[in-house]
Amino acid sequence: MALSLTPVWRWFHRWTSPPNFYRISRPWAHGLMAVGGTALFVAWIWGLVFAPEDYLQGNSYRIIFVHVPSASASLALYLTMAITAVISLVWKIKLADMVIRQCIPVGLTLTALALISGAIWGRPTWGVYWIWDARLTSMLLQLFLFIGMWAIHTAIDQQKLADRATAILVLVGFVNLPIIKWSVDWWNTMHQPATIRITGETTMVWEMLAPLLLSMAATYCVVAALVLYRTRWEILYRERKTRWVQDELGIRGKA
């Protein structure tokens, strides 16, 4: 078993080496941003202009085309960070720490966007901007987790220690992920249960669901592109003393 996997690990190590990842990620970042950006634009026009209004919420439901994609992407990003944190702690892959570091600002803004859009949506529907139910509170906790990760990484000067502390915080905070996801099923909450269900019936007509799914897919692409772009700069920064980075940016001192 251990023997047969050796080539895979060797390939994985080579693939995740900073210079290699820097080179191969470039077309991916550009491609995902182009596709995601275009799809997001189309989805917004579709959702804002062409989708019908809701029988109960009228036009205020159109906030869903921002709210659900950002909330969903923030959870997916956290899951990615948790898996990356395990890889970082077990295999000590340098790239894993760089990815985690650069996921933080993206996850923070996605979580904030989900909370803010939800609050603005809550006023015309529920009648309040905020209520301390399990869904909203656990989502606020996720925002604090992202702020905590940023703070801990910034506060610790020694790079390795900062990376390890951040990875551990990501894994401790992992408990919040299933709580956010299933809070609306486990407890009485103000927030309604999920509309889009993988198992069971999705309770939205196609004319509304199609732009929603498109904007979700688009948001995932844009988020992936953002993380890639940020990670690429992080690679250059952390490897700034190496020759390949100096060559890459055309900055060289006297030989």
């Binding site: 209004e53 844009v222 940020r230 250059l236 100096q246 900055i251 001192g253």
Partner: protein, 58 residues
């Protein structure tokens, strides 16, 4: 236009215009903020490298 009878109706969003449009405005600002963040990251890397070069570390 589209689902709406007129452009005015579209902007009004059935009296929920302020809520819908503020969410979309905040989202656009967030995207712009991230674009700006990438520019800043780029500056940071280039400044750092130029600083190292000036000090003769490269």
């Amino acid at each position: 236009m589209g689902y709406f009878d007129s452009f005015a109706d579209f902007v009004r969003m059935g009296n929920h215009g302020i809520f819908v449009w503020s969410v979309y405005a905040i989202t656009v600002l967030t995207i712009l903020g991230h674009w700006l963040g990438l520019r800043l990251q780029r500056r940071r890397v280039i400044n750092e490298l130029q600083r190292l070069k000036k000090r003769g570390h490269l």
